[in-house]
Symmetry: C3
Subunit: 338 residues, 3 copies
């Protein structure tokens, strides 16, 4: 594995889930694997969970860690050739990236979508520049369009809370006061669809269950089909929730698909309409006593009510804790192939 951006990069998910379970039993089983190997974490945007869990994962494997916070304002990278750099950009990515790569063995990148230029965001320009010029394996710590460490942790969490039947997993749009990227729902959809394809999660007797995956959101929030790959969309939130075993809430701004192309990155509805989508007890009553999930940070009262997120079936904390496992597995793959 030279890059970790999409679910396909990890390969066999069944094996990956087994590795996560092995590491959960003993987080330090491979604590010499990363000896004298250095992880460089490059943050172009803020981070709490990813920052902490990925450092912890690297240390579990005995790696050294260097954290670099790139203040986007203070250190703007020029990306074009043929430019006279007499403005506010003091370095060109063609120098900065290979230099960063020269001091480490693996590079993690956090770089959010700007939400103004869809083509630029969906081309994953920054990530691919690191992939191309760093000379080292690279992984996404949430990039413009994906957050695979989160989606992998979500899959681990769903597998840990398996039910006797093929689980129904609902990804539901929920309200938020700001325009947010589509990285988390893109990856969640991509990983759920692929997990289903690979027959995961397994039943208690080891049989392949797969996932009955449904996405629900107001019209205009259709995710990019490259991620959803034909997943069912149900615009009626109640119908989507009926019989659900897992409800995964998340806000995202308009992905700009089809006739909504010009609305990319926008919030499409007024406050009142939006607030019908908050996941509350009334919504959860439609489900099969579903587990509530969210990647965090979460706006209470907007995304979800206090009673739902605090209920015994809420998985938001174990799900975040599993970020350590997903990052440890991914780093372990990189290290084992060096």
């Amino acid at each position: 594995m030279k890059s970790f951006l999409n679910v396909q990069d990890l390969g066999d998910l069944k094996a990956a889930l087994a590795e996560a379970a092995e590491l959960k039993a003993n987080r330090f089983k491979y604590d010499t694997l990363g000896k004298n190997k250095t992880l460089l974490m490059v943050f172009f945007n803020n981070s709490l969970r990813t920052r902490l869990s990925t450092q912890k994962a690297a240390m579990n494997l005995g790696m050294n860690v260097i954290v670099l916070d790139v203040n986007a304002g203070a250190w703007k990278l020029e990306t074009e050739r043929g430019v006279v750099m007499d403005g506010d950009k003091s370095e060109h990515l063609l120098e900065a990236i290979p230099v960063m790569g020269s001091y480490c063995d693996i590079v993690g990148i956090r770089s959010f979508a700007g939400l103004s230029d869809r083509d630029y965001d969906y081309a994953e320009t920054v990530y691919h520049q690191f992939e191309k010029y760093s000379g080292k394996p690279v992984f996404a710590m949430e990039t413009a369009t994906v957050h695979p460490l989160q989606a992998f942790a979500d899959l681990i969490t769903i597998a840990e809370h398996k039910r006797p039947h093929r689980p129904k997993v609902v990804l539901t749009w929920a309200p938020h006061p700001k325009s947010l990227p589509q990285a988390v729902p893109n990856s969640f959809a991509q990983w759920m669809v692929e997990a289903d394809r690979q027959g995961l999660p397994l039943a208690l007797d080891g049989a392949e269950q797969g996932i009955d995956f449904v996405i629900t959101h107001p019209e205009g929030y259709e995710l990019d089909p490259a991620f959803t790959r034909g997943a069912r969309i149900e615009y009626d939130q109640q119908k989507a929730f009926e019989g659900a075993d897992f409800v995964y809430a998340k806000n995202w701004s308009c992905p700009g698909i089809g006739r909504y192309a010009k609305d990319y990155g926008r919030i499409l509805h007024d406050y009142h309409t939006m607030m019908q989508w908050t996941v509350d007890a009334r919504h959860m009553a439609w489900t099969n006593d579903a587990h509530f999930m969210h990647c965090l940070p979460v706006r209470r009262g907007m995304i979800v009510t206090d009673d739902v997120i605090e209920s015994p079936t809420s998985l938001v904390i174990p799900e975040a804790a599993n970020r350590e496992l997903s990052a440890t597995v991914v780093l372990k793959h990189f290290l084992q192939e060096m």
Copy 2:
């Protein structure tokens, strides 16, 4: 030990001083005790000494360290339930704290007093939230009302500079241009009173000496009796200094006790009156050739004059250096009980 906030949390101070002396002789004696254990240091406020000395302490014990600087402006935590989080607070402490706790083994917290709401500050709201929700042992790296790592280092320093007789230790208020919290004087008083109760420091022959502890300050700066526990207050600075073996200078704002309740966090006197309290050679001449102490950072010319802080009996640097020892002992206690 599951929490380190007050002197009582550490228990037997004689044993703790012995541990500090043992570690001073060999800082790396327990350098495998913290293997595969992670310290998370959470800073809601700036730090120099605490940041460096606590990292050093953790590394002495072979721990991994993650430092998290929470810019209070960028990441405001919601603390109430039932709120629609559609404003500037993007995460609720009920999610943030257990998540932070899930990636580490011990959590250190720096969170200063706001000095506007005495009840909130003296309830140690932030610290107790970490204690309650992190699921991990927690210690104070200066919180709203206490700075126990400093007070423990101060006690170590006093014990190292013992005199043939029961020492007189004077905590003196001194001027400062800004309103400061009471954390340092609260803890210093609490630790001195408790050390006296336990008969510390010991004389050279091992006999219990205790401490003759006096607090001096202008009227209105009375510290909370929960910390001073009946310690003698002497409003006449000269009388307080007479015969002193250790002079511990510190500024603090009005603690808001009794009829000064409405003045909490304020500076009570004009510049000229305040400046009479600066510790200078004239003040020190009243003492028994006292050691000068201060927790640093110190404003020269306000708290103390250049000649006093630079004199051979000044202990400000050894006192700061002992912060490494106090932190190492505290972390060692946590680790040994895991």
Copy 3:
């Protein structure tokens, strides 16, 4: 070695180059030398390469690392005695520096020139305060007037790309939109002159070659003779470039020598005149197929054109990568003398 500021501090350059080569072959050969030793890196200014490469170097040697970013605005150090510190400076260097020194074994300092007071800058006031008061070995991570880790990495790079003859190395001024310090050209000149004196680099057969070192710049940019030590200055850039084997480009502001004393820190020429000095293909055609070098970050289109910096003979990336080696050798020297 107790301080690393000038080339003389490292002593025998031939031995130092041999150490660099040994470490390049096995970066972890001395990975227990730094066990239980702590490097404190103090940044008064931003850093990318130095921050990453020096951390990497310390970790190669098994050291612990603490990084301290001192925001110059938030934490101003008082440097004078006899001052009443009632303004924006909350700590005096006479306390801050020994305290920092007490928590570590080696201190690295980054502190740029202010470019307004030449005497202050060229006295290396901040660095020498750390040298005097920290109680620990100190090294420059670019200070007011020097950047020896860069110059050492440059020498390593030149030695690695040796030619069959005594190489001609040209340090050329090049345009930049902002006033920059003279630290990099000062050190580069100092190291080239000393390398020549010591007969380095060696020829393939081990014979001493030395360096034919030339400096070229518009009038007024004469570097301090304390660094250039009689090195040849050629004001005609074309003549300087003729026959060059290595072209080292860098901008610097007026060093304030002789009749330009009052222009210290200024840019002396208009944009059009300045832009004649950009290193482009026309300039490089005058050379002996020279390697292009620059310390980075570099402004493309101002310092150098895209085609030159991207050409096969450009050494900017290997040169930056060698920062890890120069820092490892320097830290190794400190550790071996402890």
